[in-house]
Each structure stands twice: as structure tokens, then as C-alpha cells.
Amino acid sequence: MRGALFALALLPWAGMASAQSMRPFSTFRQQHGETRLRANLQYAAGVLRLSAGPAAELYRMDVSYDQDRFVPRSEYDAARGEVLLGVETAGRGGLRVVSQNQLRQIAHVSFSPDIDLALDVGLGAVDAELELGGLRLTDLNLETGASRAVIRFSQPNGARCRSAQFSAGAAELSVIGLGNSRCDRIDFQGGVGKVALDFGGSWTASSEVEVRMAMGELTLRLPRQVGVRISLDKFLSAFEPAGLVRRGDSFESPGYDRASRHLDIAVTTAVGQVRVEWEK
């Protein structure tokens, strides 16, 4: 009798255990002389790592996904030179928030360093680390939900980037080495969260940056080799213009006018704090 009761008590747990099954999936495409690629990476939940891959492969994705709730996507349109990669919900929706198992879903994505890449990334509840250094990025569009994301440009971008757009919901986002991104224009739009924009790296041209943030903490880590100007539109936000000189409605680094390259940052924030740090 006691055994039967014990078995009865274990039944729901058995059902739960059987529902958690991770499945590996790999996809890639050999490079056959393509010069450009528009990649749309949609990743609903889990861990995501992105980096440059071998030159012989146009793209590759190795993922271990929760097959009860998600399906992997890998569709290449040769005529348009576009690929859709990622993992999306299988219709049942919802996230496995009862345990850490949700984060066991992990994907490694890589792109060829030889092609001009326009990258659109959509992240849901994701812990992401994107190493974009070494790629030839021409456009970047990143949208995150409730994510923790670190985007790095450890090496200079191999191509000139027209624009980089970051849109974050309730997220913790760090973009490191924006100087290496070689983007003419950088836009950041944030809801709630903690954001760090590091403008380190090797600046080869001037750049315009627009940051709009509703609520949270924004840290701007500025380079010393370029002239920096910050124009601020704030509501209930604190701003510490460390090392900047006020000129009219904006704050400038000493010697801004004499600098050969300029970094103009327009910040609009409602509630929170804007901190300025300088690259060492």
C-alpha cells in the first residue's frame, strides 16, 4: 500500500521529467562564391553564442533545443541571398520557467568572415554573447526582449557598416568596442534595464549615435582619441558629465573642435541615471 502511494506521488514528477528532452540539430551551407548575405537570426529562449566561422561555410548553426516547446529554423533563399536561422516556439508558447532547464537550450551560430553580412537578430528570453569582430558587417539590427546580451567588436569590422540599431525591452545589454564597428550611425532604443555602451576600439571615421532610454541605468564608456560631444535631453535622470565641458546645451570633451574624428552622442532619457566613463 505504501509503495502504491509512493508511486502515485511520483507520477506527476515522472510526467514532468519525460517532458524535458533536448535534441541536437546542426545546419550549415557551403560557400559557393556568394559575396553578401542577409541573415535573420531569431532566437526565442536559451543561450546564444555567435562568432565568425570558417571561410568555407556561408553560415552554420549548432543548437540543442527543447523539442517539446521549440522548433529550429533554417531556411535559405538563394535568389535573395537571405537566410533565416534560429529557434522559435512550437505553438504551445510559454517558457520553461520552473527550472534552469530552459537555459540548457544553447545555440552556436557562425558566419563566413568573407561575405558582406547584414544581420538582423531577434532575441527573446536569452543569454547572448555575440562576437561580431572579424565579420564584414554592413548593417546590424538587434532587438532583445527580456535578455542579457553582450555584443563585442573585438576586431575591426572588415567592411564599412552603414548603421547599427539596438532595441532592448527589459534587458541588460552591453555593447563593447563600438569603435571597431565602423558604423556611420548607431541607434539605441531601450525600455527598462541596464545598458553599457563602450565606444572603445580603433576609430577610422566620425560617427553619430542616438540613445533613447525610458528607465534605467545608462553607462557611456568614451574613447580619448576622438572628440566627443553629448547632447542630453533628460526628464528625471541624473547625469554626471565626468571630464566633459559644458558648451551651450551639450557637453564636449576638451579639444573637440581640433579632433579629426568626432563622436556625437544624443541621449534622451526619462527616468534613471546616465554615467560617463573614460577609456583607460
Binding site: 502515485l8 546542426s26 551551407r29
Partner: protein, 432 residues
């Protein structure tokens, strides 16, 4: 017999080696090809004989030697491999087509072919159209002009080999230095052709039983959880619980209407709260705190109200029994709650036991849901009316608490009027 088993085992062990040997010999001139064909035919004969004498060896034998899968008759299973980008759909279709077929497998691949066992395409060969390989590896040294799908097998595209289309492996991986014109997708594991997919057909009886036990366990779990919460409520908030309980008992209709309105206004109120806090500028900082508090209050009101309903039901039942002369050991709030929660759980228990019955199961579930919602709404309304048990206006407590003596509360003594009540009269449900 043991000798026969040993021979069969040796045959099975040697078969994969034979396949490898045959592959290694391919593509080296017509003489070698003839030799390979002869070896293939020989091993095909051996495998056929061993399959006849030992049916269990059939699957492994077929894996070693590629055999064409005959096309299905019109209306039979067919799978189009011209677009394999939707891997889930392809896998589902293959699972359906290949399950429980055994050696009678028939499958049509439009504009292509299907093979069972290790398949190889030598460097001087070409295969027009799509290719499906089941239970075997695909070794491509020649030119495959189409898509390639393998089930429970790896793909090797050798240097100089070509697959012009996409490759999909279900239960396998892709190797080699050959040219692949399309996209490669590989699932190292698959449910196609596994015992699981075969067993799912015969599983319903067992799963229905498991489902029933699972539901019963769920009901018991909810019962225990509510009991624990209720006991905590009695221990730390007994006066409030009793006031809400009395409000339900004395003003059920009013409590239900209030609960219904409360449910309707729940979201608008929340929206107004959020907008108000945002507009008040300073209040925006309180927004996260207010959201959490509002949510907690709603949960407490709903849960506390539901427990109060259970308390009221249990109290009514116990008092009726006492009025009929039954001796109750300890008529207290703990007992009231336990009885009330058991009564509420009994509906769901009925669904847990008989939920598998086609129509009745749905009806029982609907009834259980309706009753639970009705009582929950009344409990929520009572919690609102009584301000979580602070106000006694609707609790029927017209006499000050200090005047509520045992004579009042137990106004239906065991000896007296109720014992000789007139025919047709009701037993009062409460002591007042």
C-alpha cells in the same frame, strides 16, 4: 540450434564489413564493378536466407545491403522531397509512412527513389532526382542531382562527389569534403523508426490509466496545498476568515455579484492604477511596488475567499449534523475547512476518475469548473465586501460578539423544539 545462432550472429557481424568492402572496391573499373556486384549478390543471398531462418536479423541485414523500396500503389504512402526545408513536417511524414511497415514497406518518392540499407553512389554514377535512404548510410562519390534524406544513417559526400540539393539526416550526421549545393540539416537523433513511434499506436490504454492516476495525484496535491494554506489562515487570521466565511453564508447573492463585478473591474482598475501613478510623476517610482502589491492582494483575496467558502460549507455541514444530534469531537475551524475543501475537491476527484469517459468526462469537468468558479467568485466578493474580514456589515453579526454565547450559537439544542419539529419545517442551518 546453438550452431545455427552462431552462424547467424557471424553473418550479421560480417554484413557491415561486406558493405564496407564493396564500397571500397567501387569506382575502380568495370572488372572491379563486376566483382562488387557478385559480392553484393552473394551477400544478398546470405542475408535473405538468414532472414528467412531468423526474422530478427532482417532489420540489420537490410541495413547492410541497399534494397530499393518499391513504390506504393496509387493512394498509398508518398513523400515529396523536393522541399525539405520544413524539417518537422518531413520527419512527421516519414514517421507516419515508415511506422509498423516492416518488410512490407512501400513508399513513393515523386521524382526520386527510396532505398533501404547502406546506399552508395560511385564516382562514375549519377542519380537524377531526390533520394531517400532508410536504415542505412549514404555514401556519395558520384553526382546526386536532387535532395538527399537519410533516416537512421550518416551521409558522406566524398571529394569529387556532388549533392546538388539539400541534405537532411534524421538520426545521422554529415561528413566529407564533397560539394553540397544546398543546405545541410542534420538531427543526430530521431523518433522515426524507433520503438517509441511504433509503440505509440498501442499505448492509449496504458496512457489513459496513467492520465487518471496523474489527475488523482494532482487533485490530492491541490487538496493538501489548500489544506496547508487554510490551516495557516486559521492559525494566523482566524477572525478575518470567520467574518469572510459568515459574509458568504449570510449574503451569498450579494457576495457573488460583488465578486463578479470585481472580476470585471480587475484589469481596468489595474490600468487606472498604472496610468495614475505614471501621470503623478513621483508615483512612477512606486510603479513596480504597486504592481506587485496589487497582484498579491488579488491573489490573497481570491484564495482567501475560496478558503472562506470552504470554511462556510464545512461549518454548515457540521452544525447541521450537530443539530441532528450527532456528537462532533471538536467542531472548530480546522475541521470546517477540511470538510469544505474535501467537498470542493470531490468534484474534481470525480473528473479525475471519470474524465476519460467520452462525453460524461467533459460534462463533469465543466460542472466542476462552473461550481469552482461560482464559489470562487462568491468568496472573492465576500472578501471585498468584508474588506478581507475587517467589516462585519454583511456577516449577519447583528448581535455584539460578547453577547454571542453558546446559547445563541447553538440555538438548536439536542433536546427541545427541533427534536419535535413539525412536519414540513426545515432545520435551521445556523444557530441564530
Amino acid at each position: 540450434m546453438p550452431t545455427l545462432s552462431r552462424v547467424l550472429a557471424a553473418t550479421v557481424l560480417l554484413l557491415p564489413c561486406a558493405g564496407r568492402v564493396a564500397q571500397a572496391e567501387m569506382g575502380n573499373g568495370p572488372t572491379r564493378s563486376a566483382t562488387v556486384s557478385m559480392v553484393r549478390n552473394f551477400w544478398a543471398l546470405v542475408s535473405d536466407v538468414s532472414a528467412l531462418t531468423h526474422p530478427q536479423a532482417l532489420s540489420q541485414a537490410s541495413r547492410a545491403q541497399a534494397q530499393p523500396i518499391p513504390a506504393a500503389p496509387p493512394g498509398g504512402p508518398s513523400i515529396d522531397l523536393s522541399n525539405i526545408s520544413n524539417t518537422t513536417a518531413v520527419e512527421r511524414e516519414l514517421e507516419r509512412s515508415l511506422a509498423n511497415k516492416g518488410s512490407n514497406l512501400r513508399l513513393t518518392v515523386p521524382r526520386g527513389s527510396a532505398w533501404q540499407g547502406n546506399y552508395s553512389l560511385s564516382s562514375d554514377e549519377s542519380h537524377p532526382g531526390d533520394l531517400l535512404v532508410v536504415s542505412g548510410n549514404a555514401d556519395i562519390a558520384g553526382k546526386l542531382l536532387g535532395n538527399l534524406v537519410t533516416v537512421n544513417g550518416d551521409v558522406t559526400v566524398r571529394e569529387g562527389g556532388l549533392v546538388s540539393g539539400d541534405i537532411l539526416t534524421l538520426g545521422g550526421t554529415v561528413h566529407g569534403d564533397g560539394e553540397i549545393g544546398g543546405e545541410v540539416r542534420s538531427f543526430p537523433s530521431t523518433s522515426v523508426l524507433t520503438p517509441k513511434s511504433v509503440a505509440t499506436v498501442a499505448a492509449p490504454a496504458a496512457s489513459a490509466l496513467q492520465l487518471t492516476f496523474g489527475r488523482i495525484a494532482g487533485v490530492i496535491g491541490v487538496f493538501l496545498t489548500l489544506s496547508a494554506l487554510g490551516f495557516g489562515l486559521v492559525m494566523f487570521g482566524r477572525p478575518n476568515l470567520e467574518v469572510v466565511s459568515d459574509t458568504v453564508a449570510h449574503s451569498f447573492g450579494r457576495a457573488f455579484i460583488t465578486g463578479l463585478l470585481g472580476q470585471i473591474l480587475l484589469l481596468p482598475t489595474f490600468g487606472m492604477l498604472v496610468v495614475g501613478l505614471i501621470l503623478s510623476v513621483a508615483g512612477i517610482l512606486l510603479l513596480p511596488f504597486a504592481v506587485v502589491v496589487y497582484t498579491l492582494l488579488v491573489i490573497i483575496a481570491a484564495l482567501g475567499g475560496y478558503l472562506a467558502v470552504a470554511h462556510a460549507m464545512g461549518e454548515t455541514y457540521v452544525r447541521r449534523r450537530m443539530a441532528l444530534g450527532a456528537v462532533i469531537g471538536s467542531p472548530n475551524s480546522y475541521r470546517y475547512l477540511l470538510i469544505g475543501i474535501a467537498a470542493l475537491a470531490s468534484l474534481w476527484l470525480a473528473w479525475a476518475i471519470f474524465g476519460w469517459v467520452p462525453v460524461a468526462g467533459d460534462l463533469i469537468r465543466g460542472a466542476a469548473f462552473l461550481v469552482t468558479w461560482l464559489l470562487g467568485t462568491a468568496g472573492f466578493g465576500a472578501a471585498l465586501l468584508s474588506r478581507a474580514g475587517i467589516r462585519e456589515n454583511f456577516a449577519g453579526r447583528l448581535i455584539p460578539p460578547e453577547a454571542l454565547t453558546d446559547e445563541y450559537l447553538w440555538a438548536t439544542p439536542q433536546f427541545g423544539v427541533p427534536a419535535a419539529r413539525r412536519p414540513g419545517t426545515r432545520t435551521p442551518t445556523r444557530g441564530l
